[in-house]
Symmetry: C2
Subunit: 345 residues, 2 copies
Amino acid sequence: MIRIVDIAEKANVSPGTVSKILKGTYIGSQETKERVLKIAKDLGYTPNIIASSLKSRRTRIIALIVPEISVPFFPELSRGVEDVARENDYNVILCSSNNDPVQEAKYLESLERRWVDGIIFSRVTGDTFKEKIPRLLANKVKMVFVDRVPAENRLSIARVEIDNKKAAYSATEFLIKLGHRDIACITGPLNTRIAQQRLEGYKRAFIENNIPLKEDFIVEGTFKLDSGFKGVNVLLEKGVHFTAIFACNDLMAVGAIKALRKRNLDVPNDVSVIGFDGIPLCEYIEPALTTVVQPIYEMGKTAAELLLESIREGIELKGHIVLDTRIEVRESTREVRVEGKYKKF
Amino acid sequence: MIRIVDIAEKANVSPGTVSKILKGTYIGSQETKERVLKIAKDLGYTPNIIASSLKSRRTRIIALIVPEISVPFFPELSRGVEDVARENDYNVILCSSNNDPVQEAKYLESLERRWVDGIIFSRVTGDTFKEKIPRLLANKVKMVFVDRVPAENRLSIARVEIDNKKAAYSATEFLIKLGHRDIACITGPLNTRIAQQRLEGYKRAFIENNIPLKEDFIVEGTFKLDSGFKGVNVLLEKGVHFTAIFACNDLMAVGAIKALRKRNLDVPNDVSVIGFDGIPLCEYIEPALTTVVQPIYEMGKTAAELLLESIREGIELKGHIVLDTRIEVRESTREVRVEGKYKKF
DNA sequence: TCGATTTTTACTATCGTTTTCTAAAATCGA
DNA sequence: TCGATTTTAGAAAACGATAGTAAAAATCGA
């Protein structure tokens, strides 16, 4: 492997000069610059990022911490992050915490040792705030929260998210406007704030439309396929009569539809289903899923752009970016049947 | 940040001694060892991986190169890799090549500069073999191919895969045994070997069962949702009359089913559909998808274990591990209708 | 008690780059 | 032509850890 000193020797200049030329911080003659650059190229020099990192304290690595890479939301987010990173000569370390605060904390530790320049963080609820995160910040590691952001921002870390409450409100209201009154909700894991907020939005839609809210229409899910399936079964076993379901993500909506089908309930004729996320799959399942579309890729991209900017400029992050959502109406929802008689479950 | 010298000072020993104690390569008195360890702990020492990497030429980073993180196969693979990495104090750099040989090559370059210890590689077809890969190997970077492995192994790089041809053969044969003769195939991108092999398996099943193979029953896809959808439309527009479809991955199967539904063709009553991969979704779509199940997580895990072992031992990799597949029968396939009359398309 | 051996610890060079400070060379005005 | 100024380049000290060798200390046998 060719080193800077090798180039220096061949060009009869000092290593320092070569370093400056290579980094573009060189002030000196055009002639030397070109000569060195040519030699570097001829020799096939490739910079050693490790050595560079040690001295400059910049690793050109960012980390993406997600709760679960196998939930389709996160690969899409990851694409956004990676695309921006790649364009800026950064690499991305992927950390799936598997929804486990302990694993998450372990990752934070290893990222600290690694001197990553920044972290994009979709975090599970844990006590990382007490110690780990302040410590990272003290070490000048930049951070951006995305999707699963903390409630308040005591530490001035930037946040990129959607308005979960509003989006859930609009989803529920959409069903109400279709004439539904008996709307069940399959929530996300309620130890996450996004799940809480979506549930809140759901509840608020009832309140603002003067519809009595029934707690037994609400069942907790996990954001995974099977929990949508189970959720519907739980509801049906409880004898809950609903004409619509708000599933707090698309995957659970798919699971829910499957469970309904198994009981010979037609979607949307017996039950309307609306999802949340807007993953590509929505369009292709049967029936195509009406859903609240989040700009997932955009969120990843925005978070990464923010992060890299703050790394580049060495400035503190404190923005709060709230991206827009929209409802994509497809085939899984329809107006409630006017006869007022629901299919017997 | 606490450094080794800080510990050394406080413990009245040399930095070298501390380093050895911390790394577990120390031969000396138990007393010193315990004293140093205690001081290190009290001071809250965290090792600096960058500095360590520079000297030891080990970064404790491996990379995972995948063609497309948003295809569900790859997050699952990634989980396997990451779980093993985490257990061994390794971090994983995620590289999505987006099916672009140029991006892939760029990633290989940056990984070389980064001195990653190893690479797990699900590669797109490109000319990386000419130059980049030998170069990496010359720099003692260990490599394992997984899923999308090259045809031959000139360079003695380990491979972890399934027998795609055999698996596709069995899928097709499964349909044949159900009485189907007119079986369409939606392939993967035919510039990939796995797609070619699956197609080959499909063809072989015809030959071995003495069924004439019709080329216009074959349509090329991209492994993505929309291409399954489009594939079916292409077939139908060509006027191809099929009673079954072998989709070369599950995502395309989902797309295909959607297209069939749109034309009022029932699955499995009018058309049987079998997929490939065994992603969790299969169970939850309507109808539940019969598919060839690959041990995806296992593949990732195996590849990572192989890689880490070879890094640890400093040995060359050259194994070839072929994992088993099985057909999971669900609702999307049934025996061909005996009347011999197919629904008019 | 003394040399020989073993155990324990220290020293020093290195990994490859960056960066600051300083010195030499070149240019310029008067 | 000479001193002042500007350009251009070099020297050297990090960054933090590691590893091989050398030295010091301790132990032992005779």
